[in-house]
């Protein structure tokens, strides 16, 4: 049987603005049979997204397919005319972009963007497409499936947007779907539902898939074959079981071993010094017009109270859309809380960042969930990182240059990226720049919203080590928002579980790793294992699932 996709000796090169050529993909071969799901995993920046895009016959601006061929259903995407390619895109191959936030047009309603594919290729009447979209929303566990499409992209949470992007790709029943990190921003419970939905849809229609991910455990659940990439070259290709059981390549083994959660070390700061750094009391925040009671129409966070001591870390977990980012934004003063108090280091924090002092702002940094929209596209990485150094610490010239290098080093970014703009970076690289910028301020507290979600296990582990090290040196504290329980467990002293805008439980892993609240239990049991059959065998209490998971 002929392969659906045949990639031969593919080379992609990028041209920097000085005209220098850099080879990002250095000649790879890849076959995908119809109905087969192939996973691409590898280090952040290894070329996963680039390869995925070439299957669409597309190279990002500044890049170019410089050699080889990409045959999809018998057509060489490299050689086709732009018009012919457009006929393949969306219809035979569709793509779920890595950064859903940037891929949605901010000025159009979500539903119109989701069904646009059917309009472009004239697949079905709009009303039918709308219905199909709603059923996909439901399958992907999106809340309010009938209404969510009428919102604008900035009105939904990160994870919701990611699933909406998946719905957009699936609506046309393509032969091949490329998922670029489709579950990075999802909590584990939702992730399970989504993975199941993917699997079901793909099995049913015999859709082949390319699944780009950093997460071996997730990949293990869904992929038939795994391709391990590094530095634009294929390191190893093998069936899923084979890789998990018997990885040949040292890099693959490294990836696997980084998966094992490391035990959390003792809290570094002596107990004596402990005093509350951040206190949050009865915070209410949300969106929409203010109601007569002074509160917003949609309350995304309700009466949340937290307390964090200096040198300790707080994890916040909870399903996608439960209000984690909203909470982080109100702590940072971006979305002024409608009610409740905030204190930082004993001093009252004004609800709005505008009213806070510069010192307070420096002490509390936030790293945004959407890395690409929070980096100014007109500036180079150097300028982005240099600004807080100058602004808070008055650093100039050489000193600043060295510090920028140090910061890039800390987050494992090659120095060659200094002069690039955000558009010339990979997803994970952007995320790290974003984080490095917060570090540059030398704050007391960093609110990290999903900073490792797009990182492979190796780099993520390195970043976590870095966090710990910095904590030791600078007695930093973190609020760590993540879907990744192993990461949260590895670094946090306390874990807050949120559900539907409310804090439902606070767990201290050092004392008791056992959650009490039923939702927390569900959450903890949903962490995928490095076992390909885990998902299929997973049985959860149907009652719990019914109560806590939409769909």
């Amino acid at each position: 049987m002929a392969n659906l996709v045949e990639i031969r000796d593919l080379k992609v090169e990028a041209k920097t603005d000085s005209g220098r050529r850099i080879e990002i993909i250095k000649g790879i071969d890849l076959d995908i049979a119809p109905g087969e799901i192939v996973a691409l995993i590898g280090e952040s920046g290894s070329g996963k997204t680039t390869i995925a895009l070439t299957i669409m016959g597309y190279a990002r601006p500044g890049c170019r397919i410089s050699g080889g061929s990409v045959t999809v259903a018998g057509k060489d995407m490299v050689a086709l005319s732009e018009r012919q390619r457009a006929n393949v895109r969306g219809l035979e191959v569709s793509y779920v972009p890595q950064s859903a936030a940037a891929a949605f047009n901010p000025s159009k309603r979500i539903i119109d963007q989701v069904i646009e594919v059917t309009r472009i290729h004239q697949l079905m009447p709009p009303a039918e497409a709308r219905e199909k979209a709603v059923s996909l929303f439901r399958a992907l566990s999106l809340p309010d499936p009938d209404g969510i499409g009428n919102r604008y992209p900035h009105q939904v949470s990160g994870g919701q947007l990611q699933r909406l992007a998946a719905a957009m790709a699936l609506i046309s029943d393509p032969k091949l779907v490329i998922f670029d990190e489709p579950t990075t921003a999802l909590d584990v419970t939702t992730q399970i539902e989504v993975l199941r939905a993917f699997k079901a849809v793909m099995k049913k229609s015999g859709i082949a898939g390319v699944y780009v991910s950093h997460d071996l455990a997730v990949v293990a659940q869904i992929a038939d074959r795994i391709v391990v990439l590094r530095g634009g070259e294929v390191q190893e290709v093998a069936g899923t079981n084979e890789i998990l059981a018997d990885a040949k390549h040292p890099y693959t083994r490294e990836l696997l071993s980084a998966f094992e959660p490391k035990p959390r070390g003792e809290s570094i700061v002596a107990a004596l010094e402990r005093k509350p750094l951040l206190q949050v009391n009865g915070l209410i925040a949300g969106y929409g017009p203010v109601q007569p009671d002074g509160l917003p129409l949609v309350k995304a966070v309700q009466e949340a109270s937290l307390s964090l001591e200096r040198g300790r870390n707080l994890g916040i977990i909870g399903e996608s859309g439960c209000g984690k980012s909203t909470l982080a934004r109100s702590i940072a003063g971006i979305l002024p809380a409608s009610a409740g108090q905030l204190t930082l280091d004993g001093r009252e924090l004004a609800p709005s960042a505008r009213q806070r002092s510069r010192e307070q702002l420096r002490e509390l940094q936030i790293v945004f969930q959407h890395a690409d929209t929070s980096l100014n596209p007109a500036k180079s990485i150097e300028e982005i990182l240099g600004r807080p150094l100058k602004f808070y610490h008055g650093m100039k010239g050489k000193a600043r240059d060295t510090r920028i290098d140090e910061l890039m080093d800390m987050v494992r970014l090659p120095k060659a990226l200094r002069s690039r703009t955000p558009a010339e970076l990979s997803g994970g690289q952007k995320q790290r720049v974003n984080f490095a910028r917060a570090l540059a301020a030398e704050p007391k507290l960093i609110v990290c919203d999903e900073i490792t979600s797009a990182l492979d296990t190796v780099v993520a582990a390195a970043v976590i080590d870095l966090l710990k090290e910095m904590q030791r040196e600078l007695s930093l504290s973190y609020i760590f928002i993540s879907h990744d329980l192993s990461v949260v467990e590895a670094i946090c002293d306390e874990i807050v579980v949120m559900y539907n805008g409310r804090k439902v439980e606070e767990i201290t892993p050092a004392i008791s790793k056992v959650p009490q609240h039923p939702y927390s239990k569900l959450l903890f049991s949903s962490v995928p294992k490095l076992d390909p059959s885990w998902l299929d065998r997973l049985e959860r209490d149907p009652e719990l699932v019914k109560t806590y998971v939409q769909g």
Binding site: Y58, R83, A86, G90, S94, P97, S99, A103, S107
Partner: protein
Amino acid sequence: MRNYVLGLITNRLGSAALTLLIVSFAVFFATAMLPGDTATILLGQAATPEAVAGLRAAMHLDEPAFFRFARWLFGLLQGDLGTSYVNNVPVAELIGARFVNTMRLAGIVTLFAVPLSLTLGITAAMFRGSVYDRIVTVLTIGVISVPEFMIATSAVLLFSVYLKWLPALSFASDVTSFWQVLKIYAMPVITLTFVVSAQMIRMTRAAVIDTINTPYVEAAILKGASRRRAVLVHALPNAVGPIANAIALSLSYLVGGVIIVETIFNYPGIAKLMVDGVSTRDLPLIQSCAIIFCIGYLALITFADIVAILANPRVR
């Protein structure tokens, strides 16, 4: 949504009324500051002091200027534009037919210029850096670099004097058939289209280019959208704000700025009326024209503002 737009519009109407009041005061002070008054100017060379005094008394110009202004303003509130000092005709009567002419000319030019400019601007943006783009740039700039009176005069020389295809004058009242409308309006419309299009073309091009390299346009292309669709459906709506503003600014010229075209084609519009008003210091006439220009301008920019706000859900 409808309520939202309605609220926006009422809000804007309020501030527009305020702007009108400011403009009205400013115009009054400006007129008052100009040396010479209606009587001296009407008498011209014959302005001996006693003749001036006599005429002033006869025209009731001897009341304090502010008084007259206030009276005019009150009249305006009752829908009365006042009476011209110069020939005692109600200003509404002077403006009436000419206002219609101005609006008609502006309307026809808009009908031509806006679609033309948008097409050229958008296509130039789509093929940015191509020969086509460069030609459009050079032509648009070349065309507006030529002073308006030169375009108009050349057109008359060519089409009326040498070819004798079109009449040299555009009296709006002579219109009886559609064919005549075409003949009479052809040259003024061409001239004005040249004048107002460039800004729209260039701004459209720039604004579209600014949005064309965004991830969502890329995403649209990956959905199989043609380049045209990606630009028209995805890039353009995000550039609508600046484009609407550029269009509004260009078109506002058509209300009060067409003095040259009115002069050369002898087209009776209100721009010339305003100039007459200024040269005779005919306060009610100046004020009424200024208010009309201002309303036209405010209507255009308010429209642009509303379009811009509606186009970007985040600023709502």
